[in-house]
Amino acid sequence: MKTHILLLTLFLLTLFTLPVLAQDPQGDVDLDAVNAVARKMNCPTCQSLNLADCRTQTCNQWREQIADLLASGMTQEEVLDWYVARYGEEVLQEPPKHGVGLYVWILPVIGFLVGAGWLAYILKRWSANQPEVAVVEIDASPEATITAPDDDYLKQVEQDLQDL
């Protein structure tokens, strides 16, 4: 039994790590159609690449399987559904918009809305505190500049006076 498991492990290991020395090129398959499907799926062994970009042996086999499914007359959508039915939604690059997957989509939106609401609240509170007089255009005339003195300038002058 143990040797069986060992052999199986070895077999799987070699399977996953074998180089692409002799990928069986299938003459008249439309590889772009295969990639169009594969791009929407995850590489089953490594997580961050999509199936179209991954060059491991396993991914080559999956792509060949996609080619076969397409050749059997299935549409791209049907092929994707076929994989989802077998392996679950984990095979898809894009997280599902229902069930647990919904949260990944919805929370950024909620977060943004909460942030925007908070910002609106702060802006409103701050600007509501303004005294009436402050609504003078500072760039209108030299007189206006006097009614709304430049804080930074005053601060600088005060500081320099202290420094003297």
Partner: protein, 669 residues
């Protein structure tokens, strides 16, 4: 020899602990001698870490395979250069290297002229060493790079094949500098909170450090992108991989920080917000190191799986909670000096930018962590791939680009909507004309692309107008020619005009991103020797690739290279050859598909070999046409240059003082 390295680490650890305790005691009892003692201990720690790094380098170079780390990352055929860079090729070495870089920052910060902020020194020192001691603690205990094997293996494993590239060699150190650099502004912010500093002194003092860290973080991201493009062979520059995101998220928080710092300096506002952003940035930096190093999220980069995860998580938790507690305790000290004068003002534009950046950071953080979170809570691991990130961040990035064009034209305090619209009339016109011109005269027709290009043209116009206004003013006042005026204007106000250069860099970079995201074309075909495959795109026309030959190419020992030769014709004319190849790393049994690129400024033809018949009679190629990709790299260079302009120490303070003096003179007269 390994014993020396390990001893040096231990000594650095002890000195760092000593520095924490003694600087805290010195601060409490207000004793300068204790502070000086802590200072020397802290500098000593830097020196001992340098010794540890040198010893590890030595072991790597001589191939001391009894040292486990050396055996893991090098072997007998590893070239000298890669032996040296193997210091950061795997976990334990890179943690030591990271601690060393961090200690250089602590050392440099301690050695600066303290002058007016002398009272902050012991606190800054305590915080710096508190963070540092954690990383040294890791390499002393669970991640010791000097751990020995019970026997002396004749050969080692060798480095991860993906790391054999110049981008991968300099990308980690640069990213580490970016990450580690934020320790200085963080320590200053904490010291200011502890000592109840109300002003913006901590920010002004650490401003240059922040910008340098920000610059290196940005360069690290760019280099990572370039490496992915040149080596990984999937035709892109950014894969929304967890480790890439781990570096992007702190950048997305540090960027609004370096902006709203200006608001605190000019208007005395956003004090709480800025402290919060700094705490968040640094926590995310440490969390980024955690994500990269703990192997918690499987990804192409994460070649590290070990027990340091829980330690890291504990440290992040403690650091974050302590910082937050201090922040809340000092809440009332950080009240704003000024209120908002108007909803239409530069202040409100800055606030909006903050919202967009934080929303971006949160979205990327959430998407990156969702697989672990969903697995922990529901047991179901949901994969969050690039489509999620593109759909959610795209609109936010576009909005930021637009805001980048409006904000510089908004004055502080208030502007009327009539005046704002008047100011924006030219940029808006240029933006609209750009979209119309592209639509009617070029192949760019997609609404998303047209809109983004209009935004970019708008922002570019605003930024150039800002430059133009300054230059004209100088030319009138000083009778200078345009070039002198430009140079002097920038030199006299480096921060502002350096900042605008960065904005121009971002616009150029975004042109590349829009081109790639909307108009990249790819095809994969299996062709016989002598046959031709076609790939075409409106930006480049039609390329014909004719498969000529397949053969082995000379290479370094331990790597087998199979290379194909294809002739490239563009619109019927032969323009060159491409030779994509596959490297096969014999020892690791791992293939790497390296693209060959036919370069042209406006677009690049990117070809990889995806498979072949053993006799070479036929082979499969994947060809991409990448529009505007070079704008991305160019924009990156402009961004770096602009940041350097802003960071470069200039005559500004002296000039400001003299101007202020003369003003004072007028007042007193």
């Amino acid at each position: 020899m390994p014993a020396i390295g390990y001893t040096a680490q231990v000594l650095a650890f002890i000195l760092t602990l000593y520095a924490i305790v003694v600087s805290a005691a010195g601060a409490k009892k207000n004793r300068q001698d204790l502070v000086m003692s802590a200072r020397n201990a802290s500098l000593g720690a830097t020196i001992f870490l340098a010794i540890a790094v040198l010893v590890l380098e030595y072991l790597l170079i001589i191939g001391h395979y009894q040292t486990e780390y050396v055996a893991d990352v090098t072997n007998n055929v590893t070239a000298l250069f890669y032996r040296m860079t193997a210091l950061w090729a795997s976990q334990n070495g890179s943690l030591l290297f990271f601690a060393f870089i961090m200690s250089i920052f602590t050392g440099a910060a301690i050695l600066r002229k303290w002058g007016a902020v002398q009272n902050l020194l012991p606190y800054v020192m305590a915080v710096l060493n508190l963070v540092l001691v954690f990383f040294i603690g890791l390499v002393v205990t669970v991640a010791n790079p000097f751990a020995q094997l019970p026997f002396f293996p004749p050969d080692g494993q060798g480095m991860n094949p993906m790391l054999y590239h110049w981008g991968m060699i300099i990308h980690p150190p640069i990213l580490y500098i970016g990450f580690a650099g934020f320790i200085v502004p963080y320590a200053f912010s904490m010291a200011a909170l502890i000592t109840r500093q109300r002003g913006d002194l901590w920010m002004r003092t650490s401003r240059r450090w922040t910008l340098i860290a920000w610059l290196f973080l940005g360069m690290g991201l760019l280099l990572g992108g370039r490496w992915a493009y040149d080596v990984l062979g999937w035709g892109g520059y950014w894969g929304w991989d967890a480790v890439e995101n781990a570096a992007l998220i702190p950048w997305l928080v540090a960027t609004p920080f370096i902006h709203s710092v200006i608001m605190q300096e000019s208007r005395g506002m956003m004090k709480r917000w800025n402290v919060a952003l700094m705490i968040l940035t640094f926590s995310l930096v440490i969390e980024g190191t955690f994500l990269t190093r703990s192997g918690v999220i499987g990804s192409v980069h994460t070649f590290a799986q070990s027990a340091i995860g829980p330690l890291f998580l504990g440290f992040i938790g403690i650091m974050f909670i302590l910082s937050l507690a201090l922040f809340v305790l000092r809440w009332d000290d950080l009240s704003s000096d000024n209120e908002l004068d108007s909803l239409l003002s530069r202040e409100s534009a800055f606030l909006l930018a903050n919202l967009l950046f934080i929303a971006l950071a949160f979205t990327v953080w959430w998407g990156t962590h969702f697989p672990i979170i969903s697995e922990a809570i529901t047991g179901e691991k949901i994969v969050v791939g690039p489509p999620f990130f593109m759909k959610t961040t795209g609109p936010l990035f576009a909005a930021l680009v637009l805001l980048m064009g409006i904000a510089p034209l908004m004055p502080w305090r208030r502007i009327t909507s009539r005046k704002l619209l008047y100011t924006l009339r030219w940029p808006a016109l240029v933006g609209a004309l750009t979209a119309a011109g592209l639509y009617f005269f070029t192949w760019i027709k997609l609404p998303g692309a047209l809109m983004t290009f209009a935004f970019l043209a708008f922002t570019m116009t605003t930024t150039l107008l800002e430059y133009g206004r300054g230059i004209n003013a100088r030319r009138r006042a000083h009778d200078e020619n345009a070039l002198t005026a430009t140079l002097r204007l920038t030199a006299r106000n480096r921060r502002r005009y350096g900042g605008y250069l960065v904005h121009i860099g971002v616009v150029l970079l975004a042109i590349g991103i829009v081109g790639m995201e909307f108009y990249q074309v790819e095809t994969q075909q299996n062709i016989d020797r002598g046959e031709t495959m076609i790939v075409s795109s409106p930006v480049a026309g039609t390329y014909e690739l004719t498969y000529q030959d397949l053969g082995m190419a000379p290479s370094q020992p331990g790597i087998e290279i199979t290379q194909a030769t294809l002739t490239v014709s563009r619109n019927g004319q032969v323009v060159g050859e491409v030779k994509p190849y596959q490297e096969f790393f014999i020892r690791q049994q791992q293939p790497m598909t390296i693209p060959d690129i036919h370069r042209d400024f406006m677009s690049e033809l990117y070809v990889i070999i995806a498979g072949w018949e053993a006799d070479g009679s036929s082979a499969t190629f994947k060809a991409y046409i990448n529009p505007f990709i070079n704008w991305l790299w160019l924009g990156g260079l402009v961004l770096i240059f602009g940041t350097l302009v802003a960071v470069w120490p200039g005559p500004e303070p002296a000039r400001r003082r003299s101007r202020a003096k003369s003003k004072t003179g007028v007042v007193t007269a």
